[in-house]
Assembly symmetry: C2
Homo-oligomer: 762 residues x 2
C-alpha cells in the first residue's frame, strides 16, 4: 500500500543519498538518516542534526563588493550530535562495513513516523547479533528526538558494550565548487556548558555571530537490572558506556531534547530538563502511538490516493510525508529549500515556500499555512530595511533567500534581482484570504504585507506611455537575468497591486486599517496609483507568435540549440557562463507558463496554449521547480500525455535522484510541485474570488485518483475515475463550485458524481 520506503541492502554508492531520503524531522528538528554507528572511515557521510531557523551569520567574501551587497549570510547549523550509539560484542566493534551483513532492511514509515533499521550481523570473529533500531522526531513533542535499540544475541556472546555519545564538536558541510551548497569555513558552534546531573547529559552551545544557543538534554535507559556504566565527559562531549552480560535480548532507549533561544528564550537547560522529564514518562512505544495518531490526522486530509501506479503512489506519499517533516510549525520558521534533510541552500527560505509548498498546507492544514504566513510577516521590518538599503524610498523588498529576514544571496542577478518573491509572498496572503475568508487575519497581517509590497512595485516600476513597466529584475527563469518587464514579475505585481487596492477599499472604514495607515504613513494617492499601475501593467505580448513574451527582448535572442547540446552539459548552469546563458532563448524553468498557471485567466487560452508550446521547446527543466508547472498547464490544455510525463519527472525526483544532488537534501519545492500537478493539474482546481473550480482529467495510466481539500470551513473529497468525477462535501455548508463551465451545488455530506471528457482542449 506504499506507506513506506524500504532498502534491503547497503549500497555504498547510495549512502549519502539515503541519508537524505531516510531523514526524519518534525519541522523543528531534522536528523539525517545517518547510521548511529557511522560508516567508519570507509565512506563519506554528511552527518547532521538541524533545527529549523537555528542559524549563524557568516561573512560573505566578494571579489568585488558593491553597494547594497549583503555583508553576511545566514546559515542553518548542524547542531549538537546525539545520534551516535556504538556497539561492541565481546570487544568487537559493530560496523556494517566489517564482518558480514546477513540480513538488512531499512525503512521509513509514513504512517507511523519513524525510521527503522534491522540487521543480522556476523562479526569478523563469527559472533552474530540481530539489531532493530527505531528513531523518531516527535510531531507531538517537537523538541524530542528518540532512538530505540533492540539487540538480540544469535550466537554465544559474553559481553555487550553500548557506547552512547552526545557531542558538541560539530561542523557544517562545505563544498567550494558547487554554488548550491555552502563554501567557506564550517564551524560555528562552541560549547558553553557541558554537564551530567541526575542521569541527564547536557550540552549547551552558542553560535559565533548570531549569539543563539542550543541545548541538548539527553538520557539513556537500559531495560536491565544489572549493568556496568561509566560516564566520560570531555570538553565538548559526553560518552556513556554500558557493559552488560549478553545472554538475552537487551532494550536500550535514548531520548534527546533540543531547546534553542529562538523558541525557548534564555532558560534552555531548565526548559530542556522539564521537557525531558515529560518525555521520559513515555516509553518509546507510547511515543510512537502519539506519533501515529498525529499522522493519522494528517493523512486523513492530506493523503492522495492513486490507483494503478504503485511507484508514483509511493513517490507522492513520500513527498507528502517529507513535506510535513520539514515544514516549520512555529512563527519563527518556514520551510527551507531542502527542508531539514540536508544543508543544500543552507537552510534558506525561498519563494519555493509560497509558490510550491504553501498551497498544500493552505488546502489541507490551515494551522500550518497560517504559521508560514506569520513567519513571513515577522520579516516585514527587515524587508522594509532591505528596500532602503538597495535604494528604494518606500516599500518592502523581501530577501531572495534568508532565514530571519536578512538577504543572504551573494549573487544578485539570480538573487536580490528576483523581486517577484515580494509578489509571491503577497500572493500567498491573498490565496489564504480566499480559502479561509479570514478577514481578521487580513486586517492584522495581510493588509500590511500587501500594502508594503504594492509600494515596492510603485517605487520599482514607472509609468511610461500609458503602461506601467518594471525594469531590471529577474523572473523565475534564472537563465535569463536582469531584464525589463519580465512577464511573470509584471503579472504577479499586477495581482499584488490590484489586491492591495482592493483590500484597502474593502477595509476603508475599518478601525484596524486606520491604525495601519497611520503606522505606515499611507496616503490615499498611493492607493490610487496602485490601482492605476495594476490596470496599466505592461504584459509583454508578441503579435506574431501569439504568445506572452518572457520579457521585453527574450524573443529577439538566439534560440539555444538544445537538441545538439550533449547530455553531460546539463544542468547548463554548471557548464556555461551566465552571460552565455542569458544571451539565448533558453530557460532553466517555467516562467511565463508558471504565471499562466498561478494567474488563471490572465491571458486567453489561445495565448496560453501558444506560450506553453513555445516555452516548452526552450526549457531545460534544470530547476526542480519546473516540471510541475508544465504538468499543471499541460493538464489545463488537455495535453494529457505531456501532463503525465512532466508529472512523473517530478514525483520521484528525489527517490530516483534525478538531479544527482539529493545527497545535499530533498527538493521540497518539487515535492510540493507533485501535489500541485495532481490537484491543480489533473483535478484542475483553481481558487478565485468567485469560488472553486475544477477541470478534472485523470491520466490514462491510472484507474483512480482521490484527495481532499479544505475550503471555507468545508472538507471536500474529490475522486476521479476515467470518465467520472465525484465531489463529496464531507463537512460544511452547501457549496457552489464550477465543474468545467458548469455551476454545481454540492450538498452537505452528499456525493455528486459527474461525467467529463478527457482532453477538453486539444
Amino acid at each position: 500500500m506504499a506507506w513506506n520506503i524500504t532498502r534491503k541492502d547497503i549500497n555504498k554508492d547510495k549512502l549519502l543519498l539515503n541519508e537524505s531520503l531516510f531523514a526524519i524531522g518534525n519541522g523543528y528538528i531534522g536528523v539525517r538518516g545517518n547510521f548511529e554507528e557511522g560508516y567508519g572511515d570507509a565512506h563519506p557521510s554528511i552527518r547532521g542534526t538541524y533545527i529549523n531557523a537555528f542559524h549563524d551569520e557568516s561573512k560573505i567574501s566578494y571579489g568585488e563588493k558593491l553597494a547594497g551587497f549583503p555583508e553576511s549570510q545566514q546559515k542553518m547549523l548542524n547542531v549538537i550530535e546525539a545520534q551516535t550509539i556504538k556497539l561492541l560484542i565481546d570487544g568487537e566493534e559493530l560496523s556494517l562495513f566489517d564482518g558480514e551483513v546477513i540480513d538488512y532492511e531499512q525503512s521509513l514509515h509514513f504512517k507511523e513516523g519513524y525510521f527503522k533499521r534491522k540487521f543480522h550481523w556476523r562479526s569478523p570473529a563469527g559472533k552474530e547479533i540481530l539489531v532493530t533500531i527505531r528513531r523518531m522526531t516527535s510531531f507531538v513533542r517537537k523538541e524530542l528526538f528518540a532512538i530505540e535499540y533492540f539487540m538480540e544475541p544469535l550466537s554465544h556472546i559474553d559481553e555487550l558494550t553500548i557506547l552512547s555519545t552526545i557531542d558538541g564538536d560539530v561542523s557544517n558541510f562545505v563544498d567550494d565548487n558547487d554554488p548550491r551548497v555552502a563554501s567557506g569555513h564550517a564551524k560555528y558552534l562552541s560549547v558553553t556548558d557541558i554537564k551530567q546531573e541526575e542521569e541527564l547529559n547536557m550540552i549547551i552551545s552558542e553560535t559565533q555571530q548570531s549569539k543563539l544557543s542550543v541545548a541538548c538534554v539527553s538520557s539513556t535507559e537500559l531495560a536491565l537490572a544489572n549493568y556496568d556504566k561509566e560516564v566520560h565527559l570531555s570538553g565538548t562531549s559526553i560518552e556513556e558506556k554500558y557493559t552488560v552480560l549478553f545472554n538475552k535480548p537487551v532494550l536500550f532507549t535514548k531520548r534527546n531534547i533540543y531547546t534553542d533561544t529562538l523558541r525557548h528564550g534564555d532558560q534552555l537547560d531548565k526548559k530542556g530538563k522539564s521537557l525531558h522529564r515529560q518525555a521520559k514518562e513515555k516509553s518509546f512505544s507510547e511515543l510512537l502511538e502519539e506519533q501515529h495518531s498525529y499522522l493519522n490526522e494528517y493523512w486523513d486530509t492530506a493523503d492522495i490516493y492513486i490507483k494503478g501506479d504503485p511507484e508514483l503512489q509511493e513517490g507522492i506519499r513520500f513527498n507528502l510525508f517529507q513535506l510535513l517533516q520539514s515544514v516549520g510549525k512555529d512563527s519563527v520558521s518556514n520551510i527551507a529549500a531542502k527542508g531539514l534533510s540536508g544543508e543544500g541552500y543552507e537552510g534558506h527560505y525561498f519563494w519555493d515556500s509560497e509558490i510550491y509548498i504553501f498551497p498544500i498546507f493552505l488546502m489541507t492544514n490551515h494551522e500550518i499555512a497560517r504559521s508560514l504566513l506569520l513567519q513571513r510577516y515577522s520579516l516585514l521590518d527587515s524587508a522594509r530595511e532591505r528596500a532602503k538599503e538597495v535604494g528604494h524610498t518606500k516599500g518592502a523588498l523581501f530577501p531572495w533567500r534568508t532565514i530571519t529576514g536578512k538577504e543572504s544571496s551573494a549573487f544578485f542577478p539570480a538573487g536580490t534581482a528576483q523581486y517577484h518573491i515580494s509578489a509571491d509572498i503577497a500572493y500567498s496572503y491573498i490565496k489564504y484570504f480566499l480559502v479561509t475568508n479570514d478577514m481578521s487575519f487580513m486586517e492584522d497581517y495581510g493588509a500590511e504585507v500587501l500594502f508594503e509590497t504594492a509600494r515596492l512595485w510603485l517605487d520599482t516600476g514607472h509609468f511610461y506611455q500609458g503602461t506601467f513597466r518594471i525594469d531590471d529584475v529577474t523572473g523565475p527563469d534564472e537563465y535569463t537575468c536582469i531584464v525589463n518587464n519580465n512577464y511573470y514579475t509584471n503579472a504577479m505585481a499586477k495581482y499584488n497591486l490590484e489586491w492591495a487596492a482592493k483590500i484597502y477599499n474593502l477595509l476603508k472604514e475599518n478601525n484596524k486599517l486606520s491604525q495601519l495607515i497611520k503606522k505606515i504613513d499611507l496616503k490615499e494617492d498611493e492607493v490610487a496609483d496602485w490601482a492605476r499601475a495594476s490596470e496599466q501593467m505592461f504584459l509583454p505580448y508578441d503579435e506574431e507568435l501569439g504568445i506572452n513574451a518572457q520579457d521585453d527582448t527574450f524573443l529577439q535572442k538566439k534560440v539555444w540549440d538544445l537538441k545538439n547540446t550533449p547530455k553531460e552539459k546539463f544542468p547548463l548552469l554548471l557548464h556555461y557562463h551566465p552571460l552565455t546563458l542569458y544571451r539565448y532563448q533558453v530557460c532553466k524553468q517555467a516562467d511565463t507558463v508558471l504565471a499562466h498557471f498561478l494567474l488563471d485567466g490572465i491571458s486567453d487560452m489561445e495565448t496560453v496554449k501558444n506560450s506553453y508550446d513555445y516555452y516548452e521547446k526552450v526549457t531545460t527543466h534544470d530547476s526542480s521547480l519546473s516540471h510541475c508547472a508544465f504538468s499543471v498547464m499541460a493538464s489545463k490544455l488537455g495535453y494529457s500525455e505531456k501532463a503525465y510525463k512532466h508529472f512523473s519527472d517530478t514525483a520521484r525526483l528525489d527517490l530516483n535522484n534525478l538531479h544527482g544532488n539529493t545527497k545535499d537534501g530533498l527538493h521540497m519545492a518539487s515535492m510540493g510541485g507533485t501535489w500541485l500537478a495532481i490537484v491543480y493539474g489533473f483535478a484542475g482546481l483553481r481558487i478565485k474570488e468567485s469560488g472553486l473550480s475544477f477541470t478534472p482529467t485523470l491520466p490514462q495510466e491510472w484507474e483512480a485518483l482521490k484527495f481532499k481539500i479544505q475550503y471555507q470551513q468545508r472538507l471536500l473529497m474529490i475522486e476521479l475515475h476515467s470518465d467520472t468525477v465525484t465531489y463529496t462535501l464531507e463537512k460544511g455548508a452547501d457549496l457552489v463550485i464550477k465543474h468545467y463551465d458548469e455551476e454545481i451545488t454540492l450538498k452537505t455530506e452528499q456525493k455528486t458524481a459527474l461525467e467529463y471528457h478527457q482532453s477538453p482542449m486539444v
Copy 2:
C-alpha cells in the same frame, strides 16, 4: 614654465595623496613618493615599489561561484623595498614629524626626471641639518632605481649615522570595503635568497602561485675616506649602518637594480649584478644626464604648450610625464589603470590602455605604441581560451582586467560582460595601421587579432530580421549593465568586423595570410559573414528624440533625478545597489557619446548633437573616463564653454584629487583623456583611411596651443591661436589634410597658416 610640481610644506592630510603624485617610474619600476625615512607611526603610508606586470595570483572568493567565473585574480605586487634610508644625528633619529622643519620643499621634475626633497630640520635637541634627496628611476636603464643624499650640518653635530635597508618582508595594501582596491590577504612574496657579497646586497623573492622571482641588487656608496660601516643581515632584510664624523657635507648614493623572471629569465642575480656594475660606473649626476637627454627627446614630440593658463599647463605636463613614467615599454607589460603609482585596480590593464592612452603614444612615439600592441597580441591565446571558457565556439574574448591574460574580474556584469574591450583592442590595431601604414605589422599581428575578435562578434551576436544584434553585454557605462544592443559595443563591433573583412580582402593573396588562415582554420564564409554582420549591425536610434539610444531599452527607463541627489551620494556606485542604478537612465560615463567620438561620421551631426545634449543630462561622470569624451564631442559640436569645462575637470583630476582616491594611484586614463581633449577636441584631429583632418577651436581662455604629432613618416606641428591655425610639416613628404571641409596640402618643412571661426557648429 610649469615643468615641475612643488610642495613647500608637509600637509599631514595629503601624505598619501602626495605619495601618488610624486611617484617616479619608468614603465618597468615604479616607486611611490614615500619618504625614505618614513612617517614613524604617526601617519598611514602606502609604501610601495612595483614592477609592471610582476604579479601573483590569488584565489577569488565568491559567495556563489558560477560556471566560467575566474578561479583566481592576478595582482601587481609590492616588491622588495629599497627606499629606506634613515638618518641619526648624534643619536637622534631624523623625522619630519618630530623636532622642527624650518624649510621644506619637494618637487617632481618632468624634464630632468627625478623627485627631490630638500629640507632644513632642527632636532628636538636643537641640532640642525640640511638634507637634499634626489631619486630617479632611469628611463635609459630600466632596472635602476637610485637615490642620492646630500647632507650638510648647520649646527655643531659630532656624528651622523646613516641606516640604509633593503627589505624582502613586504605586503600589498588592502581595503575590504572599496571595490576599487584589493581585498583579502596581502603577502605574496617570500625571500628565497639573501646575501651580501662584494659590497652588493641582494635579495631574491618568489611569489606563491605564479612562481615568479624578483631580485634586488643594491649597493650604497659614501663619498668619504673615513667611516665606520656595519652590515646586518636578517632572514628577510639587509641593513647597512654608516657612522661618520659630521663636520662637513656628506654625499651618499644608493643604487638598486631590480630584475625579474618575466624580463630576465632565470639568472636574476647574475643579470642584476652585471646591470649593477654598469650603473655603478655612472655617478648620480651622470645618470641624471642620461635621463635628461631621454626626456628631451620625449618632450620634443609629446609636449603640449598652452599659453594663458599656467595651472592647466602644469596639469597637462604632469599628466604627460606620469603617462611616460607608467607605460610599459616591453612586450610583457602594458599600462595599468593606476600606472605604477599605486595599487588601485591591482595593476590591471583595462580598455583604458587602448581607448584613452594608446592614442598619445600612437601619435608621438610609435615604438611605445607598437610595444603596447605586442603585449596585447601576447594575450591572444588566453583570449581564445577565455572565449571557450564562457561558452563561445570560436574567437577571442579579451579579459576585462588582466595582467598576463587571465580574466581577473570578479564581478562579471561590469567585468567580463564588457565585451567591447575586444573591439577596443581591434580598434587600436586599425588606428596603428592607419597612422603608420605598417602592413607588415598588420600581417604579423594585427590581422590575427582582427580575425579572432571578428569571430567573437559573430559568435556573440546573431542575425535577426535583417539586422545583426548583440545581446547581453555591458557597454562602457557601468551604471547600465547586461543589455541588448549597446550602441557603443555594436558600433565598435561593426568597425571591427568591417576592418577584419577589409584586411582579409587586402591580404588575400598574401603568403603570410595563408599561413594565418591555416593556423586559425579560417573559412571564406566566415569573412562574408563578418562583412554582412558589419553592414547589418543594429545601431539603436530613437525617432522621437532623434538620438542613438544607448541600448534597446535605455530610453524606456525612469530618468534618475540627479538634481535632487545629495552631493554626498556621489559616486553613486558607492551608495546604491547596482540593480537600482541599472533601473534608471543614469550613466557613470560617456557611452554613446564616446562611440560618436571614436567612430567619427557614424551618425549624422544632428543625431550626434541631440545625443550629446541628451546624455550629458543623465551622466554623472563618476568615472574618470568620462569628461574627456564629453570635452572632445563638445568641441566637435562647437560647445566651446562645455568643452573647456569638461576638459578642466579632467586635466587636474589627480593634482586636485577631484575623485578623492588619488592616494590609490593616478588615473591614467583620465590623463590620457587630457591629451584627447586637446588634440581630438580643441584641435579636432581625426584619423581615417582618407587621411588626417582637423577642426581647430581654441578655448577662449587661452592665447595659444601648440603640439606635435607623427603621421606616416612625418612630423607635424599644430599651433592654434584665437582665429588662426598654423600647420607645420616639420619632417616628411608633402601631405594633404582636411582643415574643416577644405583640403590643404602641407609642404615639407613649411608652415601653412589658416583662419578659422570659433564655434563652427552651434
